[in-house]
Amino acid sequence: MCLAIPAKILDLEGTKAHVDFGQGVLREVNVSLVEAKVGMYVLVHAGYAIQVLEEKEALETLSLWNDVLASAGE
């Protein structure tokens, strides 16, 4: 139920945005809850964007994982 799927904002009009869920799945969603900009990725839950996905943070997470895996001993 709290399932949320990332999608890319294609265009914006007021609180409405057209988003691309990938593989050609397009839908209009409501972006009242986030500061949306065209081109950014948002997390969509039940037709509403609930948060912006941070690419920088995603890359940092992956780099953190690599650090953990590379750490010796333990």
Partner: protein, 362 residues
């Protein structure tokens, strides 16, 4: 995004699993609890439990908002439908058992019950059919409640109202800590609830209960990494609040969503199916939005219903005390096609998740 592949990369998963083995205690058992149906789906679908050492267990707590809606609130929706009001709801609410009937059974009996993808679709229907009354069954945790708030504070037509069944997750987590023989060693906190509420509400668990808590995402490697981070804390005899899902969860959460929730709702005590009444765990539309509260508008107030059918052990599954397979009805009289208990209904219910992903391999 190319990094999506990495969040699911099986090689990386195996490496994290190796790390988990090195940090897991050699003696005794460790039990972590998550409270999210999507976490349970990830864990069972990707077979993550098979990657964990035998003494590390992950159990599913009350993480399915559909499963914990009490029968009385389904009964209210059924009663409204029988009065000729159009009931709109998410797909998984349709088959949740009420005391006598589910909304699906009410629909089969001729009432007007419609599935929507988003509450805005239901509002649109109400605008197109002004001669009918529309009610939306607003089920969900903190992830979903701000959406109801947006619509309730927006431009609603007069023929639209909500039957609010929203519940809050932290009070349910606190309840689990009071279940004496559950003995949880750490929480995997729900990523998308946290995207809204942020980290602060979980500080209680680390500070007061000394419970390691990690907010985790929903890709298999997110969950494995969350388990690793918890085990690390256990090995250090520490209890910290950590955020594995920082690409979505900001420490402060979604402030705008929190403000809208505060504007639209009061926090009140609420009944949870199979659990009972929890203080400060439910949302109710504020007095100023009373005209959009279906309970007030149509004077429907059902206090008690039959939450658990005879033989069903949903009340034990919901708090993670037993596994679905330990319920005598699981995949015998209770199946996804004909659910007896609420946990078998929603795609996020623990029994439903196990029915799809575990029973087939058993």
């Amino acid at each position: 995004m190319a990094q999506n592949v990495k969040f699911r990369n099986p090689e990386l998963a195996r490496s994290i699993a190796e790390k988990i083995k090195t940090v897991a205690p050699k003696k005794g058992t460790i039990k972590f609890c998550h409270v999210c149906g999507t976490h349970e789906w990830t864990i069972t679908h990707f077979g993550l439990r098979s990657l964990l050492p035998e003494n590390v267990e992950v159990i599913a707590g009350p993480g399915c908002p559909v499963c914990i809606v009490p029968a009385a609130e389904i009964d209210e929706a059924v009663q409204l439908a029988q009065k000729g009001i159009v009931i709109t709801c998410f797909g998984d609410v349709l088959r949740v058992p009420g005391s006598q009937s589910s909304l699906l059974e009410a629909k089969a009996a001729g009432t007007d019950v419609r599935i929507v993808y988003a509450v805005s679709d239901a509002v649109q229907m109400a605008k197109c059919e002004p001669q009918k009354e529309f009610v939306f069954s607003a089920v969900g945790f903190e992830t979903t409640a701000p959406i109801t708030a947006v619509e309730a504070l927006g431009d609603l037509p007069k023929n639209f109202s909500f039957l609010v069944s929203h519940r809050l997750i932290p009070p349910a987590m606190e309840l689990l800590l009071g279940v004496g023989d559950l003995q949880i060693d750490g929480f995997i906190a729900p990523g998308h609830v946290s995207a809204i509420i942020g980290l602060e509400p979980y500080e209680l668990f680390t500070r007061v209960y000394r419970m390691p808590t990690v907010v985790a995402g929903f890709e298999p490697n997110d969950v494995l990494m969350g388990i690793y981070m918890l085990l690390k804390q256990v090995s250090e005899s520490d209890a910290r609040l950590e955020n594995e899902y920082s690409r979505v969860v900001k420490p402060e959460g979604n402030v705008k969503a929190q403000q809208l929730m505060k504007q639209a709702f009061n926090v009140t005590a609420g009944n949870w199916r199979g659990i009972g009444r929890l203080p400060e765990s439910a949302l109710q539309l504020r007095e100023s939005l009373k005209e959009f509260d279906a309970r007030e508008k149509f004077d429907v107030h059902i206090k008690e219903g039959r939450d658990i059918n005879f033989g069903c052990e949903c009340h034990l599954v919901i708090i993670g005390k037993i596994k679905p397979k330990e319920c005598p009805l699981f995949m015998k009289t209770c199946t996804p096609a004909k659910p007896v208990g609420a946990c078998m209904v929603s795609s996020e219910g623990t029994c439903r998740v196990w029915a799809k992903n575990v029973a087939a391999q058993a």
